[in-house]
Homo-oligomer: 394 residues x 2
């Protein structure tokens, strides 16, 4: 996903429709955790935020699942003068589509991440050094199971909904499969039940850019150091896949950075889109860990529900949740068809599922952008009674 600042709009995080000031917290699980790979940790930490309050029946929680480069800070502000709010602040807040007056919203940085949760940049107590690539291999299943432990810790009896886009959509689907009695609704957007060869290919080029950077040093680098060049390249390339050709043309076209200079006969920045991409790369390396990028892209690539459960229908067999899958017409990373296939498989498995396709020209990251149509869809889905008829509008 693109950086939240790209989605910034005039607002005050302290206004009445806003979550306001929020404080991240750490869930420190002191129980041993066994990863899907069989590797174990004596415990782990998930950094998380919550907005709204858990009700007396402890069943109004909404779990928000972030994408590759996201984190737990999905709404509100960390300080009154924060320049930007959480990454899904447009969707989450008092009276918003995910209404924090009604719901207890929970969002955690994923296991393997680098924004407070345990991951390769965490210090290994046995060595006093960052784990690097000795950190256990992380899968979407590990993310799901660790987030369930967080919800248990918070006293949540069942979740009203699990919501996510892109990798967050994978997480949400797998949550409903793993914890069917616990999960009443799933809303997965701009996602896939398994990546295409092209999506794997883009991730692999990013990983190679990181791993071939001499500063990667087989994953062994000090905090704040590491393969900054490789990570920036990976991010620049990935960013192109998060947006659409049309949106890049509208935003930048062929505009020159310094038109007065005329034709620039050198390799400095010439086009605005070049400057923008370089900025994206530089901003990312200041907030993201290269090893986490390797881990999480691998988790994305390995996610394959049909392969893991025999077929997509078999994967969805245990699901009890009502499901809504949303595809975006201009998403060429996880195209509408891949989203539609999820909903179709859910229906074939006899589940309550709908598919909505929104016309946007903003690409994969459409799920993050301001859209009254999306807000209305999310609001209606969350407010719908579980017994209500399902619209099989596929």
């Amino acid at each position: 996903m693109t950086d939240p600042e790209e989605n910034e709009s005039p607002h005050s995080s302290l206004a009445s429709s806003e979550v306001g000031l929020v404080v991240p917290r750490d869930f420190v699980c002191a129980q041993p955790f066994t990863f899907k790979s069989g590797q174990t940790l004596p415990g782990f930490t998930l950094r998380y935020e919550t907005y709204g309050s858990l009700n007396a029946t402890r069943d109004n929680a909404v779990l928000i699942c972030h994408a590759l480069s996201g984190d737990h800070h999905c709404a509100g502000a960390h300080a009154a003068d924060d320049r930007k709010p959480g990454w899904w602040n447009n969707l989450i807040g008092p009276g918003k589509a995910v209404d924090t007056n009604r719901f207890f919203v929970v969002c955690a940085n994923v296991l393997g991440g680098c924004v407070g949760s345990s991951g390769p940049s965490s210090v290994n107590p046995a060595t006093g050094q960052p784990y690097g690539i000795s950190f256990p291999f992380v899968t979407i299943l590990d993310m799901v199971r660790s987030q369930k432990l967080l919800l248990d810790y918070l006293g949540v009896a069942s979740v009203h909904a699990v919501i996510g886009g892109s990798m967050g959509g994978m997480t949400a689907l797998l949550f409903a499969i793993e914890f069917p009695a616990f999960t009443r609704r799933v809303l997965a957007m701009a996602t896939t039940s398994r990546e295409s060869a092209q999506a794997i290919a883009f991730n692999e080029v990013g990983r190679q850019a990181i791993m071939q950077d001499p500063d990667w040093n087989h994953g062994d680098y000090p905090k704040g150091g590491g393969p900054r060049v490789g990570l920036a390249i990976a991010r620049m390339m990935a960013h192109i896949t998060y947006v659409s050709d049309a949106s890049m043309d509208r935003k930048f076209g062929r505009r020159k950075k310094n038109p007065a200079n005329g034709e620039a006969y050198n390799f400095d920045v010439q086009f605005e889109v070049e400057s923008y991409l370089r900025h994206q790369g530089q901003a990312f390396i200041n907030r993201f860990d290269a090893n986490s990028y390797l881990y999480i892209t691998r988790a994305l690539d390995q996610f394959d529900l049909a392969h893991a459960y025999g077929s997509l229908e078999a994967a969805f067999a245990p699901v009890q949740a009502e499901c809504l899958v949303v595809g975006f017409t201009s998403d060429w990373l996880f195209p509408p068809e891949q989203n539609r296939q999820i909903a179709l498989a859910l229906l074939r498995a006899g589940k309550s599922a709908s598919y909505a396709e929104l016309s946007t020209d903003l690409g994969h990251d459409s799920f993050l952008l301001e859209s009254e149509e999306l807000y209305a869809l999310v609001r209606a889905f969350l407010e719908r009674h579980e017994s209500a008829a399902v619209d099989f509008s596929i």
Copy 2:
């Protein structure tokens, strides 16, 4: 464009329908050459190949223009045991669509290239070292003008046709604009009159991968050295843009390299598509110069006919050639619409132009692949009398 070996098919380069053994030659122009940038060279070399014979009226030449990573070797073999023929061997040869029994086919490595023509890897006689980025800045116009000098040297009075795909299509179009009386037919495929922001963005990420590689050293590196890691990354990424999601899925899907190993919990090659891409990157660095990659991608990005001539119609005003533009449905780098716009502008400028759109699912590189439909189109276009009616089938 992808490597020729990807398009290899069972053949004998010495069979009667083949061009057979060919020998590259060097055109050494001893006259000073002034680039569009205003920079000059005291002379330059173009390495080229020819197939067939120039006729008595010296008007049966067909100029073939290569794409970013192509070269002068577009047909035949350099040795009887060559593993692979020239990159457009399927199209060019005795009795083939570009029939060397009829036409005198000429193809030159572009100025700025690295396969025998003058470029940044050439030795600067003033220093005894490679020019590096002190080589004059190269544009498509410089490629066109230098190739015209080659044709003059070869005694060509006028060209029957100029043919190219991708960058070769840009070259072909500009050739008809710059030398209208000399150019009787233009066949441009999978091309654009100016790149979109997305295409510039991909090129820029490739350039950054090269220029941020410490071994680039501001373009100053010994022959055979240089930013091999950066160049491989650039090539891997670019390769994804040359093919389609569908073709990658058909060729690789999610197949594992070593399925017997089960889930691999590490960052080694796991999927076949990863192995394929790594091979693409490694093969490329053994045959291509990183500075040439910078120069040629910049030439691609700066090519903008509408900007250079005021409008696309104004650009085409001088054209006398019959024009055929071919787009491929699955080409997402230079999509069909960008090809169609070229033909439309030619028609609006009162020119003889047709547009054909071929249904393929092979992506941008469709122009290189075996297609009887494409061969028939090329053959008919080359054999059509100049006075014949034009099919305005847009």
